[in-house]
Symmetry: C2
Subunit: 468 residues, 2 copies
């Protein structure tokens, strides 16, 4: 493990200049989609390469990368598989050090493709080049806007810049998740669809991201891993550097393993062995896809708790009970509030309210009552995490005031706090505002909020175990 | 169990005339909110009752219900607790048979309130009246628009008419769920927040809904039940009448049980005992709140499967693997496709596609390929349920065509089919359209889709066990 890998892979994301081999204006082509992404958003130099054209989107188009008169940091290759070998050789001669091969038609189609793949790797080794792909969507960097994902822009949106990196063995699913995170306003540092991983693989990427200053949380969708030991080491090192690694692993069941074999040709191996090894390396394992955004919000926006004791403040008794059930089911603990906290709560709450945990501040609670109850509860030494539940449909609650109070509280409370707000459009609008203004994760159900805190707590435990 | 209960409770939902006791135009009052709901949407006669006013929203206002010159089917009471007893007595004299008492200040505040509650029940018994409440939000009927939920209309939306009935022991949480279902475009027949259940309780309501022709699926949020045996019988009878009963029970953990006691004063009892009894009665038990809409869509829109064998058709290999994992985790079975099916699939799919289950029709699949693959797969005798996975970000897929094909297929295939479509805005718009046009449930993740099918399969098993 060295910083070498950081310098080697960095230009995939922050190239000063990019050559697009297979650049085109022809509708429906990958070469066009990538050119549109770059021309519209990328700030560096762009060199279209295509034997057929003189100009592409107004830029001079070269017949070969060898004709480009300037240095090229990154080449993106989107041409039929049979021409890729020659083009990679030319990239080597040109001195390009980083290549993304989008093209399919390699290992995934059988022996003929596998032979092609071996050849391009050989050439890359010869010239000291690194390759992402083939058979991939490549890279989206939210900061530099280097983007080789070629889905139509009306169908595919991209997350704003923030601290989550996401690498995906599956291109299609990866892009769909990207689109989903964009809608959730969950920011990203980098996305990589690494396809067949002929050269750069999941371990390289995790090593790289460990050094990437823009990445705070690393997420990976994986089906199979070639070198398990290297992968585990990469994860352990990331965690040592205080970067949570979140893994969604497909191929957990016997039938799933078979499906992986037919999908990517990877050997998924026994999931139990994987799971044990991943946990030992400090990875946070996400069981199901829908949990991914839920966990990422908590890991990206909140500091881990000191312990596992949860306090709940709610204006809906029923939702408080559901949250309590979920706390116990997820092996967290309901905090026992101190006598002092209880008596201070009694002072500010109406007589019918409950000053015990869950703290039920009643259906007629205005925003001020929330502020007081959260402040008092969060100061209790027995409380490590706080779940605030708001039934925003209540006529008594001024949601704008609540938003402002929560923002203040987030800044002054040194413990992770999440919000639960079940409901429709009105509730969602205010929930979104709270997430954007205060970076407090908001969930529709109590159980999702508890699950998010569980992952956050798990991370603290894993981090301690790894760094001790 | 008799049809008597149906006639007794029917007027809570379909009254020809309603008196609002405590009617007002004063902003922020419950009496105003209920009047606004009724004046704007309810088609029957409305009689405002308030000693202070001559007119409310242009309608003649009476000092007492005894002054109303016509028959009153339903009285809605929203006045301070201490005046409720007298008003209920007057309702009895007037011949009103159904009363919703919104007012709080009864059993939930202690012995004084409990005494008040006993008195109004006594009066109701004397006159043969039925009471919903007190301390509740009352009723929303999606068909007649009888609506006593008093949350501000900008904060609280209501589902359109359809076949799901929802009863809730918690008013606040119930209303939030109502708002959520509205946003999801999941239609409702009736909603009831029954509060302290002084008279009409969860068992009465389930008995009533069993006879209600507009209700196809019954859902209940409950914390505690007074008469467990009656409740179980009511559920069993509903299931015998082929109405799935979906229960979300709060107070499943030790701490949750304690929280219930402090919230509603109900004895939640041991959840394990409950769970066993509920399952034996044929209830579908939802573990967590976020699963509720997921299960309701499947139960309301799809016929139960004949067996537990699932086939998957996907344009994203990774999502297919996640779905496969989830099938096995949820005790369903991946269908083994027949040789004939496999060879027919081979004929219509490209060579690189996988004709085995999960059927991977590849990332470049157009809508036509979906149609063929779904048609062939669904005809296989070994297939009981179908999960279609679409990565809609794909440049190859025409979502509008896909929508039309799915609508046709839903009509011609006699097996439950659900769709998985992960993504953002574009994907969501088409997903919503598919739900509205074809009543095919759409889920963001493979695991949610599998969970929905599991509940549907569970219902089939429960129904068979109960009706044998």
């Amino acid at each position: 493990m060295s910083k070498n890998i950081y310098e080697e892979l960095r230009r995939f994301f922050e190239p000063k200049s990019v050559a697009v081999i297979g650049a085109s204006e022809k509708p429906g082509t990958v070469g066009r989609a990538i050119m549109v992404n770059l021309v519209e958003n990328f700030k560096g130099k762009i060199f279209p390469i295509n034997i057929k054209y003189d100009k592409v989107f107004g830029l001079k188009c070269y017949k070969s990368i060898l004709e480009v008169p300037e240095d090229v940091d990154l080449a993106v290759v989107a041409i039929p598989a049979k021409f890729v070998e020659q083009v990679v050789e030319e990239c080597g001669k040109k001195g390009v050090k980083n290549i993304i091969v989008i093209s399919a038609g390699f290992k995934e189609i059988g022996e003929e493709g596998a032979e092609r793949e071996r050849k391009i790797v050989e050439i890359a080794r010869k010239y000291g080049m690194r390759i992402i792909g083939p058979n991939c969507l490549g890279v989206y960097d939210a900061h530099t806007k280097l983007n080789t994902v070629f889905n139509p822009p009306d169908r595919q949106k991209y997350p704003k810049p923030d601290g989550v990196a996401f690498i995906s063995q599956s291109g299609a699913l990866g892009a769909a998740i990207l689109d989903w995170l964009a809608q959730l306003d969950l920011g990203l540092s980098k996305f990589v669809s690494y396809g067949n991983a002929a050269d750069v693989d999941e371990s390289d990427l995790i090593e790289f991201l460990t050094f990437d200053p823009r990445t705070k949380v690393i997420t990976a969708y994986i089906e199979g891993v070639e070198d398990g030991r290297r992968f585990m080491n990469a994860i352990r090192n990331a965690v040592r550097n205080n970067k949570p690694v979140v893994i969604l692993k497909a191929g957990k069941s016997e039938r799933g393993v078979k499906a992986v074999a037919s999908h990517t040709g990877s050997l998924a191996g026994s999931y139990r062995v994987y799971e044990a090894a991943l946990k030992q390396s400090g990875a946070i394992i996400i069981e199901e896809l829908w949990e991914l955004p839920l966990a990422l919000k908590a890991l990206a926006w909140l500091k881990p708790p000191k312990g596992n004791k949860v306090a709940i403040v709610t204006n809906g008794g029923g939702a408080g009970v559901l949250a309590t059930d979920a706390v116990e089911r997820n092996n967290l603990v309901m905090a026992e509030l101190s006598k002092e906290t209880i008596s201070r709560l009694r002072e500010v709450l109406p007589p019918a309210a409950s000053p015990y945990n869950p703290v039920d501040i009643l259906g007629d609670a205005p925003a001020e009552r929330y502020r007081e109850a959260i402040k008092i509860t969060s100061m209790d030494e027995n409380v490590d995490m706080i779940i605030v539940i708001t039934i925003m449909q209540s006529p008594a609650l001024d949601a704008v005031k609540l938003r402002n109070y929560l923002k203040e509280l987030k800044e002054s409370i040194d413990k992770p706090m999440v919000l639960v707000a079940p409901g429709g459009k009105y509730t969602e609008e205010h929930s979104k505002a709270i997430e954007l203004e205060a970076k407090i994760p908001v969930y529709k159900s109590p159980e999702e909020a508890v699950k998010a805190l569980k992952y956050l707590y798990d991370y603290m435990v894993l981090y301690k175990r790894i760094t001790v």
